[in-house]
Amino acid sequence: MQPEAKMTFLDRFSALRETQFGAFVPVLLALAAIWGYFGLVLPLIDLMSGEADSFRAIFLSPRNIYNLFMQSAVIATLAVGITIVLLLGDIDLSAAATAGVCAALLGVLVLSGVPGWLACIIVIFVGIIMGAAQGLLVAYVGIPSFVVTLAGLLGYQGLMQKILPTGNLNVGDPFVRGIARVLIPDLWGIVLGLAVVGLFAYANLRKQSLRKALGLEQDSAFALWGQVVAFSVIVVAVVLTLNAYRSLPLLLVLLIAITALLGWITTSTPYGRSLFAVGGNAESARRVGMKVKRIRVSAFAIVGLMAAIGGIFGASRYGSVSYTAFAGGSLLLEAIGAAVIGGTSLFGGRGSVWNAILGALVIGSLGNGLDLTGASAADKLMVSGAILLLAVAIDALSRPGNGSGR
């Protein structure tokens, strides 16, 4: 599953893994394994053992896939944010609590008559401040991020309880609810999907021809077309599957759009480059003139932003805000797990926001699949723990052995 860990596979995979798409291979394989197990193997076993009279592909039914995506969306939003600080070699334990505070605030605001859109903007602003405040402590006071955000986790949990003394609040605002309820019409969903595919193919082919023109080494045709085809298949399959049940939900489109923006920023701008540089070697980054402290603060602000958006998404999807759904529940660990399972290194300098989305799907699929098989909450926790451990072990093994880390 993880080629980097094994020298014998290194050569064969390294060419693929160096490409844009290659880093997704391990997490995609993990996802395929989980889906194959819950979607095909388990129903087959049921069928053979006579427990079921026909092949019931409940897990892979469009309805379940739709729910799976929606369930994973909040985890994914937070995981995308957490990925940004992981790139620096920092961690944010307070993301879920921040999301909780933002969601609670959102609920209270709309209840008191603030229009939904305005409440969302306020809440996003608050989230950014909450993140940046922690970033300031990490960067300028020099407290390790683990400690700062642990304190943040506790403090923000308390804050959420202050805002929501009852621990629960229904959110009926049409704007807020609309984010999760609005569906993109089938046809438009397909058009959107095809447009994205076309753009992706165009960008890749153009880059390739530019490389040729400049006399630079080129990706192999196999790698190039491989990633275009794989990307197209995935996008089209997702859109068609969602259309088969309902339609493409606005929430997913927003999530993908935000992730695409952050993905572009992290990989294709000087700011993104500096995130990786600081994560790889903060002292080197400082010595070439990067503003390491400001970069740290901004990264925590981005986590705050994503946590606020996660809070909005959550409130929208559940139609309510509850303490357990955010601050007090398993959201934080699932989000960090998602980022790490996606292949983002806890040691900094390696990872991608897209991997966080896939990691969130892995976590979401595990939970969903185990639910369907009637597994207990205890089983779910233990399996999730094992998967997380596996992912971190792979991360540790695939680090360059002599790497100076951060």
């Binding site: 880059k207 540089a277 070697n281 400082r286 010595r287 790497g403």
Partner: protein
């Protein structure tokens, strides 16, 4: 190099970059005790001294990586401030750090343009940090820089630095400093990890820098290299100046004695 003088600070060529009375403390360690140093354009100034003499610390101060606790900077005789790496870069000071200061998780091209990434034109409405990177431009630059150093074993500028050999890394660090716009290039033990042929390349690079009227500072423990490439030699000991010699008028033995024992008769301490 007409100088008759072994004393500090009275050099023949007019100094391009000069520092006076540099003091640097690390907690209780007094690493630089009023050091004077200077280098002229078209000159290779060697900086020698035993381990821990303060050579790297002085270079880091000049490059803005460390903030001096006291002392003045002069560029072409005019006082300047160097309080950050950006200040130094803007003054045209480039450095190859002893520890190379590379990011192992990034590829060769990214390391070569680290902190000075090319961006695509036409995105002026965005802050510079958020404009799209021009990856291809950086790769082209990287290829040129690497070709100039003739690092033939390096397969691809898209290889991650973490997977390269020590010598290849050193070559990349040198290429980064040499490739940038600069008037002063400082190399802190640039050949420590290099083989014979690569060391020759670096010495050629240093000579070429001198020919192109750069001010070059060259730190090394290898006397043969120093006598081959330098015009003058500054000796540091225990964080103080011992003396500055004209290479053609001295010999390795004299330098080694100065490094290890200082000047027996008079003390070149300028502090």
């Amino acid at each position: 190099m007409t100088s008759e003088d072994k004393m500090v600070g009275q050099a023949a060529p007019p100094a391009h970059l000069a520092v006076r009375g540099i003091q640097k403390w690390f907690g209780g360690v007094h690493a630089l005790r009023g050091v004077d140093f200077e280098v002229a354009r078209g000159e290779v100034m060697a900086l020698v001294g035993d381990n821990g003499a303060g050579k790297s610390t002085l270079m880091k101060v000049l490059a803005g990586a460390h903030l001096a606790d006291d002392g003045t900077f002069l560029l072409d005789g005019k006082p300047v401030e160097v309080t950050s790496p950006n200040d130094a870069t803007e003054l045209g000071i480039q450095i190859v750090y002893q520890d190379l200061a590379l990011c192992e998780n990034l590829d060769v091209a990214a390391n070569l343009s680290l902190g000075a990434e090319s961006v695509k034109p036409g995105w002026g409405f965005l802050p510079r940090l958020l404009r799209p990177l021009d990856d291809l431009e950086m790769e082209v630059k990287a290829k040129k820089a690497i070709d100039r150093l003739e690092v033939r074993t390096l397969q691809s500028v898209r290889a991650k630095v973490g997977g390269l050999s020590g010598g290849q890394r050193q070559a990349i660090a040198i290429a980064r400093a040499v490739g940038a716009e600069s008037s002063v290039v400082m190399l802190d033990e640039p050949t420590a990890a290099l083989g014979v042929a690569q060391t020759r390349q670096v010495l050629e690079v240093v000579k070429r820098l001198r020919e192109t009227n750069h001010a070059v500072v060259y730190i090394s423990h290898n006397m043969r290299d120093i006598f081959e490439v330098s015009d003058r030699i500054t000796v540091l000991r225990h964080g103080t100046n011992v003396a500055t010699y004209t290479t053609s008028e001295t010999n390795p033995d004299e330098i080694v004695v100065a490094m290890t024992r200082g000047l027996d008769t008079e003390n070149g301490n300028a502090a």
